[in-house]
């Protein structure tokens, strides 16, 4: 299969006069974990609803393995497993009955995968209990088992960490990484949790107020916004002068005698020498690991998640 497993092209959706999603485009390749990051209400769930055909875009196209979702819904969805918003299953049926129910809606040997999948999500022992007795984490895991029933090529998970404890989140993360690495599944994960996306995903799109503000490999986004190093120097006025001369952007004050500077690591010894040569006392140089939070703050212009 050449080309991306999932491709969204110029998705746009309005509700009345409110534009929920505006011109959102991205591709997700096989074996890749793609993070869709944004605050609540940014348009994540509306986008996911369009990806799985629950909502129809005003403009734009969704392609799953090259199939136009609007025209070949059934064929396209045969490649997809998904959880939209919350893992809602039938509370009055048991876990097994739920899985059997959804297996009957799939082609092939979906029902035969139930034992294996329930083992995978560690629900074997509770499989014959009613879902109404399950904890939120168990429902989330059952939802994932359900999404995997059809042996999908593309897995779409909306906020999979919701309602899970830290151990559960780790579990999901490991599961997603395994599925992508070993089975070559393309995974699309939405989240409002920066740390989750950062640890789970290969590539990220940041969505804010219905628009994608940045898209790229996690590492690239992180280095793009990298403030790089924190330099403590005295007197600060003189230090700022010296550093400004060597930087494209002026150093950013970060405390009374501290500056954040974006410099490649090779340029640091030279910068320190220059400071010392100008009579500035260098009190410390720390490497500063930037996080998706920094990227997010930068691209959204200071709004927090």
């Amino acid at each position: 299969m050449s080309g991306p497993d999932l491709s969204a092209e110029h998705l746009t959706k309005s509700f009345g006069s409110r534009v929920a999603v505006a011109d959102v485009s991205f591709d997700v390749a096989a074996g890749e974990v793609f993070g869709f990051l944004g605050p609540n209400g940014a348009g994540k769930t509306t986008t996911i609803r369009m990806l799985v055909g629950l909502a129809h875009p005003d403009r734009g196209t969704v392609r799953i393995r090259g199939l136009d979702l609007a025209r070949h819904f059934a064929q396209a969805m045969a490649h997809v497993g998904c959880i939209v918003e919350s893992p809602d299953l039938y509370p009055y049926l048991t876990g097994r009955e739920n899985l059997q129910h959804f297996a009957r809606m799939l082609r092939g040997e979906a029902a035969a995968r139930i034992p294996e999948l329930s083992r995978l999500v560690a629900l074997e022992e509770r499989l014959d209990d009613r879902v109404s007795t399950y904890s939120l984490g168990m429902r989330q895991r059952l939802g994932i088992a359900q999404a995997l029933l059809g042996a999908p090529d593309l897995l779409i998970l909306d906020e999979p960490a919701n309602g899970l404890d830290p151990a559960g989140i780790r579990e999901i993360r490991r599961l997603v990484r395994t599925l992508a690495a070993e089975r070559g599944i393309a995974v699309f994960v939405s989240s409002h949790l920066l740390s989750e996306v950062e640890q789970m995903c290969d590539r990220v799109a940041i969505i804010h107020r219905g628009r994608t503000l940045a898209t790229g490999p996690v590492a690239e986004l992180l280095s793009r916004s990298a403030k790089g190093f924190r330099i403590l120097a005295r007197p600060p006025e003189r230090a700022a002068e010296v550093l400004s001369a060597r930087l494209a952007t002026p150093p950013e004050p970060d405390g009374p005698e501290a500056f954040l500077v974006s410099l490649p690591v090779e340029a640091i010894p030279e910068a320190v020498r220059a400071l010392v040569a100008s009579g500035v006392e260098v009190l410390g140089v720390e490497r500063r690991a930037s996080t998706l939070e920094d990227v997010f703050l930068e691209v959204t212009g200071g709004e927090t998640v």
Binding site: L54, E85, D88, P91, Y92, R104, M105, L106
Partner: protein, 326 residues
């Protein structure tokens, strides 16, 4: 992908939801109460008098009412009709009131066609689509590799099965209980069929005697048809309103309107095109006067068919296109 597994799913959900079993239990309990009530009534007033005298008295009483001319239009029509019916039985020396199990079973379809069967159909129909919205499972249901039309069709199939089963069960239980009270024999008894109201007078020219079982099959067929129509319309409200409570409320209001309207506004002709007015058609098939003069069984079947098909067309049209944002 075959269609049957989808229907299997819907039937499973209907059955597991408890609602279905509760409704069937209500049906059994109601029929039981009606049987007990009738048996008690008979015991108290007994058949110490000869049925002929009783029937003749009844006819005389009704003639008197009619002569006094103080009856409402609808009452007068009914009274004249009853006089003709009872007279017909008297002339042939047939006791018009004699109860048997089979007769009670047929009668169930008549009395249940005023409200009971329709209420039960609404309880199923109101829930079958909107509950998926309420529980959020609609998002899973509509992200399978199956078109929305097929998903909805499987729900409709399950609903029609449930309606048919309810009508059938009602008949079987009525026969079982009625038989316990009045004996199980009598399916071959002749019944008179074909009374027709022509304007003010009863036309008995088409009256003929057919075996009770044949009559019962027809009556139950009509009861099923009317109930299925209510199911189809309830199905539509379930799709449109996406809320079980709102859907049930709307349909109950419509049904109650249908029982009130012919009484308070018997001269308003237009109501014969409303589906609710046409629902008691098993009853006027067996000889009761229709709610509005000029209505007969073929007319009602046609009106109900148009309503049912229109409701289903709207359901499928809306369901296939609407965004799911639940």
């Amino acid at each position: 992908m075959t269609f049957l597994p989808l229907v299997e799913n819907e039937v499973l959900k209907l059955w597991k939801r408890r609602r279905f079993r509760l409704v069937l239990l209500i049906l059994v309990a109601l029929i039981g109460i009606v049987v007990v009530g009738r048996v008690e009534g008979q015991r108290r007033f007994g058949s110490h008098k000869d049925w002929r005298i009783e029937t003749q008295e009844q006819v005389a009483r009704m003639r008197n009412w009619d002569r006094q001319g103080r009856l409402l239009e609808t009452q007068r029509r009914w009274v004249r009709f009853e006089i003709a019916r009872l007279q017909y039985h008297l002339d042939r020396n047939i006791n018009p009131e004699e109860a048997t199990g089979p007769l009670f079973a047929r009668g169930f379809a008549n009395f249940a066609s005023y409200l009971l069967l329709h209420l039960l159909a609404i309880v199923f129909a109101a829930d079958i689509v909107s509950s998926e919205f309420a529980e959020g499972t609609i998002k899973l249901l509509l992200t399978r590799p199956i078109g929305r039309g097929r998903v909805l069709a499987s729900k409709l199939a399950a609903l029609l099965l449930a309606v048919a089963l309810t009508v059938l069960l009602g008949g079987v239980v009525a026969y079982a209980f009625g038989g316990l009270a009045w004996g199980y024999r009598g399916w071959d008894a002749p019944v008179l069929s074909g009374f027709r109201l022509v304007g003010e007078t009863v036309d008995s020219s088409g009256v003929r005697a057919i075996p009770l079982w044949e009559d019962a099959v027809l009556v139950f067929g009509l009861a099923w048809f009317a109930t299925a129509t209510v199911g189809a319309i309830g199905f539509m409200t379930s799709v449109l309103l996406r809320s079980t409570a709102a859907s049930m409320g709307t349909m109950f209001a419509a049904l109650i309107l249908g029982t009130i309207l012919p009484r308070v506004a018997p001269t308003w002709e237009f109501q014969k095109y409303l589906f609710v007015t046409n629902l008691p058609l098993p009853d006027y098939y067996t000889g009761s006067p229709p709610p509005i003069s000029g209505m007969d069984v073929p007319f009602s079947v046609a009106v109900l068919a148009v309503w049912a098909l229109a409701a289903l067309a709207v359901s499928f049209f809306v369901f296939a296109r609407r965004d799911v944002l639940a």
